[in-house]
């Protein structure tokens, strides 16, 4: 049984980190949850280092369709 493949693209303010290999997950829900966890972990690391995390993670399905975009947002005050 082959699992569907998903691609995780990391967007930084100045560049995009493309994902040409992707990872297999049982379904889109799992892939989406993985991306959310990753975003949370990256924000934690940035905050612990005193950095602002400015970026987004996009999840693409095997057809290249974006199925999720998680962004870190800080509203200007």
């Amino acid at each position: 049984m082959t699992m569907p493949r998903f691609f995780f693209q990391f967007q930084h303010p100045d560049r995009i980190e493309p994902d040409s290999l992707g990872l297999e997950f049982p379904d889109a829900r799992t892939a989406i949850n993985e991306a959310r966890r990753t975003a949370a972990e990256m924000m934690r690391d940035a905050a612990m280092a005193g950095r602002k995390l400015d970026g987004a993670i996009e999840v693409l399905d095997s057809e290249g369709v974006v199925i999720l975009r998680v962004r870190s947002i800080e509203d200007p005050i």
Binding site: E34, R37, E41, M42, D45, M48
Partner: protein, 246 residues
């Protein structure tokens, strides 16, 4: 054939204990008399499970073993990795009910040693008892180091630290040379050990590779830049207490 494997098991155990403690000839001879029941165990198989009351300990001869606990919702945390020569459930000698699970990662060769035999050898040979006590203390030191990592280190630092730790531990038992060693784990295993998502582990490994710190070829890790990797992971080997005379 079987006899040779048993001897191999004794030597594995001796190599491991001698990497952390000083043993005399009589101690080595006593260890070589321990009856070992050798078994091949497939990958991802539980050896002892939470709640079990084992009557024997398992010595890892070949492969890689992990200890883990899982939340009610089914999220697994890998608590430690064990390398050949380790007895990952040594605690069952004195703590009779298992409070966590010990499982194989790749397929492994394991040697089972009866508690009664281990108890006798530790009673009659104080140096062996001291070596196993020291091993247990080092085990606890490794847990402390992992706790620091899980609580306070970044994803990249955790990964770098783990890869340095495994290199040092495998080197001590002759299974790492020139920064190259086997680490037959999946990215899911690494994620469960480092408290990270699978996607994050994948990204971190890519990053370390791109930065020229290491190379990964299936389950072979090649550390290309020890200085860089250990600096990133803030790896200091003190907690492994690998000098038997200190």
């Amino acid at each position: 054939m079987h006899e040779r494997t048993v001897q191999f098991g004794h030597e594995r155990l001796i190599t491991k204990l001698q990497s952390i403690a000083e043993l005399r000839d009589a101690d080595l001879a006593a260890l070589r008399t321990l009856p070992i029941n050798v078994k091949s165990v497939p990958a991802n198989t539980e050896i002892v499970t939470e709640g079990d009351r084992p009557t024997e300990c398992c010595l890892l001869l070949e492969g890689l073993v992990c200890r883990s606990r899982t939340t009610l919702e089914g999220r697994r945390q890998i608590l430690s990795f064990h390398t050949p020569g380790d007895i990952p459930d040594l605690q069952s000698l004195h703590l009779h009910v298992m409070d966590h699970t010990v499982a194989t990662l790749p397929s492994c060769t394991l040697g089972f040693i009866l508690h009664s035999k281990l108890r006798a050898v530790t009673r009659d040979y104080p140096n062996i008892a001291a070596a196993m006590w020291r091993d247990t203390l080092i085990d606890a030191a490794i847990f402390r180091e992992w706790m620091l990592g899980l609580g306070r280190r970044s994803a990249e630092q955790r990964m770098a630290h783990l890869l340095c730790e495994m290199a040092r531990r495998l080197e001590a038992v002759g299974l790492q040379q020139d920064g190259i060693y086997e680490l037959a784990v999946t990215q899911i295993d690494l994620a469960d050990a480092l408290g990270l998502s699978n996607v994050h582990v994948n990204r971190v490994l890519q990053k370390l590779r791109t930065e020229g710190l290491l190379r990964l070829d299936r389950s072979t890790v090649s550390i290309l830049d020890w200085e860089g990797l250990s600096r990133l992971g803030e790896f200091e080997a003190l907690y492994l207490h690998q000098n038997p005379s200190v």
